[in-house]
Symmetry: C2
DNA sequence: CTGCCGTTTTGCAACAGATGCAACTTTGCA
DNA sequence: TGCAAAGTTGCATCTGTTGCAAAACGGCAG
């Protein structure tokens, strides 16, 4: 495939730096003053760009919150694709762990507490949920790829249940204050339950062709 | 408990009728012109109220889309609470079926196609997801109620997986064009998988005390 | 170095959703 | 009938978001 080391090309560099600057400034302001107390104008000022330019980098104010997560998820979905003849069940487990790590890692970036505050906003929680279901589609495609014979319903149900497990972990952690310890516990338990459920999908037990 | 037949009291009637009028008008306009092509002013005009009044009935334009669903879900969550010494596993199954029926019933209200169009808007899909996770909290509370000894993690994980199944069904149906036949198939399969997964939670097998 | 071209940035204007406030109506009740 | 609470409305305002066209910038051929 195309596996260029991807030279950032002089121009791209600046774009990336600007994007980073916006995200960083925004996250900082959100943490300091709160989400709705921070306007686009504020972010633009802090990132030293014109307000109008913000929308050239992010489609909405909400999306800037998930800039990091989106990048990480993109990586994960890339990594997931390169799987040898692995057992589908194992793929699902890896997916869950990887995706959740990607989401959780972001939390560490600016301190769990601040990001948690942001996620209390209903609109942002909804947006976060959206990320998970997007991940579901990736997992589903992956599944369909590894098990060519899998039925439409099974693929959807399996990935859906997997996502449900993740979602439960996030919900749990929101209540527990994002304690890393309890997050791991919840994650393990969810994976366990999901696996028990999926053994009934016989297609998942066969190794990929 | 308080089990008054709840006489609508003269004043309440009008409020309900107005709410209904707004919802009906909005849904009709959304179906005709599309969601963002319809302004609050349009809805207000169609419902014969002042634009400002709209926000006295719904907190946002998005919420009016789910007016019906919200009502139904409220009923469901009410009905769920009144359970005798039922096996928790059975409770979960009922929850899934009831909640999904509530959501799906709404689709029939104004024709699946139109509502489907609305749900293509990312923001609205996110909002719909939010409904499901709200339902999750209800299920979780119910679970905790029926199995006093259940661990925090198990309750969260179980309800999360259940919701994941529902979410999968919805996702599947969105792609299949909301065909009632395939929806039932997906629902059955999801319930099956969820049940298989939850047998590993021993607390769920015991009947409630 | 210089001028040209495509890309990016910016300012401006406009629209729509949402909220606070105060005035005005309606409704329920004594 | 008249008062007080509840509901409705208009107005002003703020903020997010988008389209448009001008200006600034970056890279490249001559």
């Amino acid at each position: 495939m195309d596996d260029e080391p991807a030279r950032p090309s002089l121009r791209e560099r600046k774009k990336l730096r600007t994007r980073q600057a916006i995200a960083t400034a925004a996250l900082r302001l959100f943490a300091e003053r709160g989400y709705e107390e921070t306007t686009i104008a504020d972010i633009a000022a802090a990132a030293d760009i014109a307000p109008r330019t913000f929308f050239g980098y992010f489609p909405s104010k909400e999306d800037v919150v998930f800039a990091e997560v989106d990048d990480r998820l993109a990586e994960v979905s890339e990594r997931l694709r390169r799987t040898p003849g692995e057992a589908p069940m194992e793929t699902i487990r890896r997916s869950i762990v990887d995706v959740l790590n990607a989401v959780v890692a972001e939390h560490a970036d600016y301190g769990a507490v601040q990001v948690a505050l942001v996620l209390e906003r209903p609109a942002l929680r909804a947006r976060a949920l959206q990320r998970l279901t997007d991940a579901q589609e990736v997992i589903e495609a992956l599944l369909r790829d590894l098990c060519p014979g899998i039925s439409e319903v099974d693929a959807v149900a399996a990935s859906g249940v997997a996502i449900g497990g993740m979602q439960a972990v996030v919900a749990h952690c929101r209540r527990e204050g994002y304690d890393p310890r309890s997050m791991r516990t919840a994650l393990d338990r969810a994976v366990e339950i999901v696996e028990h459920g999926l053994v009934s999908v016989e297609a998942l037990s066969r190794p990929s062709p």
